[in-house]
């Protein structure tokens, strides 16, 4: 504890050093200054190199270990500077000498001259190398970054049977190349900024200049500028900080781990937002139907894709409705249940000690526990969850008459339909519980009131000025093409309404190249 306090005290001391303090002409003073700023930081490396041709030349390299490319520093900076045959006339003017070193000796492409201390400190923590020259009150800011990143792997959260297998990684620059490789067009813009008063996380807004709405872009930049937080570790932070409707359980920005999905959104006129350190890109504006779209929909046959999409929509509806409808029917509107079904439900419920609602809550909670446990535990013992879930809690609970068999079916169906829409898992849990309680208090009326409330809520949402339920409920063919169904590509000749408004035309016409 004491150590931390001391470290904190030092950090505060360090931050007390005025950032406007100029560099000193003396190398030793400058090195001492950096050492003071980076006190208690074991990763700081200070290397003093000398060149003995004629007059002694002393230089200093300051960098952070692990974030720099050692080979590059060795071959690009230290070796050329140490071995360069300086002549006597080079030494008179340090500024000229520095210029010569920058232009003629150092063998690295990205070099900037800087005299600002805080800029140099920022460069060092960002993995760059600061080159100091004795006798000159300035420095070179050399980009010799290099660190370990995860390899590009198949995205685990959005699997596709058919389609690209590349997924984003934690390295922002790698992610941008994944996008750039798919859109080789100078129209694709990457605008960088830093977010996080302490972490200074690199953030990149990525869009197509000719498609993205300037209003939405300005709105996004305005919101990003207002963000005040000391660090962000994932785009999830940003998604919550800059979203519309902060109290709604629904996601107001899309997130994807797939470069192809991100590119397809960008090509529709949407804007992608990425940060260093997160493999998830945010896309905006986001509308409700995007929850049901999977990247694979666009790669497989459109009949099959439309069918799958239909399943997802039905699945989402069932997932929020089944427990509520079951409770409403079994406890209020028994006359709506077919006679034979009612008899078998009644037989199954006989001698179950709890009311139906408690039964439903027990089973739903158990299911959520199993889901959460399955997501958290190491994969090596993952099978234990399914054994416990299926055998112990399912079969045994029914045999012991703690819950009835129909309830197990209800919860099982609820669970499996939830898994159809991984993007909606969170909101659906909340909606399902609200509907369940409404159905418990008011029966089938309650369920319908709840559903009505849900529709009203969804209809009132907006994402960056675009209605969240855009196109839902519309019967215009253009609105249905990528919502209720996935229309064939030759027919999707326009971009989505209200998003790709700057240039609606995606294709020249409905022409099918293969048809006669």
């Amino acid at each position: 504890m004491k150590n931390t306090d001391a470290a904190l005290g030092n950090r505060q001391d360090a931050s007390k050093i005025p950032s406007s303090q100029p560099l000193s002409p003396s190398l030793d003073d400058n090195v001492a200054l950096f050492r003071r700023i980076f006190s208690n930081d074991g990763t700081l490396r200070v290397r003093v190199i000398e060149n003995n041709y004629g007059t002694l030349l002393r230089c200093g390299l300051i960098y952070v270990d692990g974030m720099t490319d050692q080979d590059l520093i060795q071959n690009g900076i230290t070796k050329p500077v140490m071995t360069y045959p300086f002549k006597e006339e080079d030494h008179g003017n340090p500024a000229k000498l520095m210029e010569k070193i920058r232009m003629e000796i150092i063998n690295i492409s990205d070099i900037m001259v800087s005299t600002e201390l805080d800029e140099l400190v920022g460069a060092v923590v960002g993995g760059k190398t600061v080159f100091l020259l004795d006798g000159y009150a300035g420095a070179l800011n050399i980009n010799a970054q290099g660190w370990q990143t995860r390899a590009i792997e198949e995205p685990t959260t959005e699997k596709a049977v058919r389609g690209p297998r590349e997924g984003f990684t934690e390295s922002l620059i790698v992610n941008l190349t994944l996008i750039r490789r798919r859109v080789q067009n100078s129209d694709l813009k990457f605008v960088f900024s830093d977010i996080g008063t302490r972490s200074k996380t690199q953030t990149c807004i990525c869009y197509l200049e000719s498609l993205a709405s300037p209003d939405i872009l300005a709105e996004l930049q305005g919101r990003l500028a207002q963000v005040e937080i000391d660090h962000i570790l994932d785009t999830g932070y940003l998604a919550e900080l800059i979203r519309d409707e902060p109290y709604s359980p629904f996601e107001m920005m899309g997130s994807t781990e797939r470069p192809d999905t991100a590119v397809s959104k960008i090509m529709e006129g949407r804007i992608a937002l990425m940060i260093e350190g997160s493999p998830f890109a945010l896309t905006l504006p986001y509308v409700f139907v995007e929850n049901f779209q999977a990247s694979e929909d666009y790669y497989v046959n459109y009949y099959f894709a439309s069918f799958n999409r239909f399943l997802r929509v039905i699945g989402a509806f069932m997932s929020i409705s089944i427990p509520a409808v079951y409770v409403a029917l079994v406890t209020y509107s028994q006359e709506m249940v077919p006679t034979k079904l009612l008899l078998s439900i009644a037989a199954a419920r006989l001698s179950v000690p709890f009311p139906t609602i408690i039964e439903a809550l027990i089973m739903l909670t158990i299911f959520e526990i199993l889901r959460e446990a399955g997501a958290r535990i190491p994969t090596t013992i993952g099978q234990a969850v399914s054994i416990v879930g299926a055998l112990v809690l399912g079969q045994a609970a029914v045999d012991a008459r703690i819950v009835s068999a129909p309830m197990v079916i209800v919860v099982g169906l609820t669970g499996i339909t939830t898994l159809l829409n991984p993007r909606l898992t969170g909101p659906m849990i909340i909606v399902r519980l609200i509907l369940l309680f409404a159905a418990f208090f008011l029966g089938i009326y309650g369920y319908f009131f709840g559903l009505l409330g849900l529709v009203i809520h969804l209809m009132s949402l907006r994402s960056f000025g675009v209605s969240y339920m855009l196109g839902v409920g519309s019967i215009r063919p253009q609105d249905i093409k990528d919502a209720a169904i996935r229309a064939p590509w030759w027919d999707m000749y326009l971009r989505p309404a209200r998003i790709g408004t700057r240039n609606m035309k995606r294709k020249a016409s409905r022409k099918k190249a293969g048809s006669r």
Binding site: T331, Y332, L342, A347, L350, I444, I475
Partner: protein, 384 residues
């Protein structure tokens, strides 16, 4: 586009209907006694109503979802009193929405059904789509009490029987709302199917055949199964069934399966005298030929058609005569048809319709058409 909108509106309206069915009582399914059917008798000694309810006896256990039944019987002054008092027998409130059958004893039916039926159609817990029957046995409860060979719930069996009734057409298919609707319409009399105990080899089974005829809400007579079928022909109520046809010598030889049948009734006013013309057109398939004699020539088929038509006409006429002369009851709804076509004439007739019906000149014309001969076009030929 407009059609889609209409469809959407329709769907929305249908969705709204779902909201109308809610009952506000919170009850768990296992905390109620599900009534399958009821029998209503009258105790001759004290004049009290006796209500017997067949209640589904749910047996717990996963492997035994087969539900049994138990009988509860209670006397009382009014229906509702009995129904509520039954809680003291079952310990659970009776649940009526899934009841399928009400059986009235003949005594109750002859005294008038409104007394006992009003509660059932008025109460919010019951449903008016329950089938009604009149017991042909001395009491109604003995039918419900039948320990049938199948050991299943009798009322549910009856409901199944009524939904398949259209293949025989020997009993009318009457639900309680339908019965009350007939009572309230002038120029119409109600009928209800009759239910018997059919005994064979010591095993007793229920059997629905024939119908009871009502004047207002009081039962006045019975028709047997064949008469009932002819009665249904006369009132356009046939949906299926079998017509047996004799050969030239009067031996039943052919069976015709009724595919569809339409009856048109036309009132005619000639010189101020009203007469009714009943025309039936029945499309059939020849389904059974109990002879090797060839019928494939057109003559053969048309002669069968002719004989069938003639027999059917006579049968229909005889049942109409029977109703006119014996019961003075217009169960065919002809009064209503006259009301529709000749409203001015009806205004004069309506107050004395039962007597006018007796005097009414009704002519019947039947036509039976054989459309196909099922899987083969000829009789079975014997090899030499």
């Amino acid at each position: 586009m407009r059609r889609a909108l209409r469809l959407l509106t329709l769907l929305l309206c249908m969705a709204l209907v779902l909201c109308l069915c809610g009952c506000w009582n919170y009850t768990e399914v296992d905390d109620m006694s599900i009534v399958a059917g009821v029998a209503i008798d009258k105790d001759a000694a004290d004049g009290k109503i006796q209500l017997t309810a067949e209640i589904v006896d749910i047996k717990g256990g996963l492997n035994q979802n087969q539900a049994g039944f138990k009988m509860l019987s209670l006397k009382g002054k009014t229906m509702f009193e009995i129904v509520r008092n039954m809680i003291s027998l079952t310990g659970k409130k009776l649940f009526w929405s899934h009841a399928k059958a009400i059986i009235f004893s003949e005594a109750v039916a002859r005294e008038g059904l409104i007394k006992t039926m009003d509660w059932y159609s008025r109460d919010t817990e019951t449903r008016s789509d329950v089938f009604i029957f009149v017991s042909s046995e001395p009491t109604a409860r003995e039918i419900l009490n039948l320990n049938t060979s199948k050991k299943a719930i009798l009322s549910f069996e009856l409901a199944q029987m009524m939904s398949d009734e259209k293949f025989t057409s020997t009993a009318p298919n009457v639900e309680i709302w339908d019965f009350i609707d007939k009572l309230e319409t002038s120029g119409n009399h109600a009928v209800a199917p009759l239910i018997y105990v059919h005994e064979q080899n010591g095993k007793k089974n229920e059997r629905v055949n024939g119908c009871a005829i009502f004047s207002k809400d009081k039962m006045i007579g019975k028709l047997n199964g064949k008469e009932t079928k002819n009665m249904l022909f006369a009132k356009d109520g046939i949906k299926g069934g079998v017509l047996a046809v004799n050969d030239i010598h009067g031996v039943p030889t052919y069976s015709l399966e009724i595919l569809s049948s339409r009856t048109k009734v036309k009132p005619k006013l000639v010189n101020g005298k009203l007469s009714l013309q009943v025309r039936t057109v029945t499309r059939t398939g020849l389904d059974e030929v109990m002879t090797t004699k060839d019928f494939s020539g057109n003559e053969g088929i048309s002669s069968i058609e002719e004989r069938a038509s003639k027999a059917l006409r006579q049968d229909i006429e005889s049942v109409i005569r029977k109703l006119q002369q014996e019961y003075h009851a217009d169960i065919f709804g002809y009064g209503e048809i006259i009301h529709e076509h000749q409203p001015k004439v009806w205004a004069k007739l309506r107050d004395n319709w039962d007597n006018e019906f007796v005097k009414l000149d009704i002519s019947v014309d039947s036509k039976v058409i054989i459309e196909n001969t099922a899987k083969t076009s000829r009789s079975i030929r014997l090899g030499d």
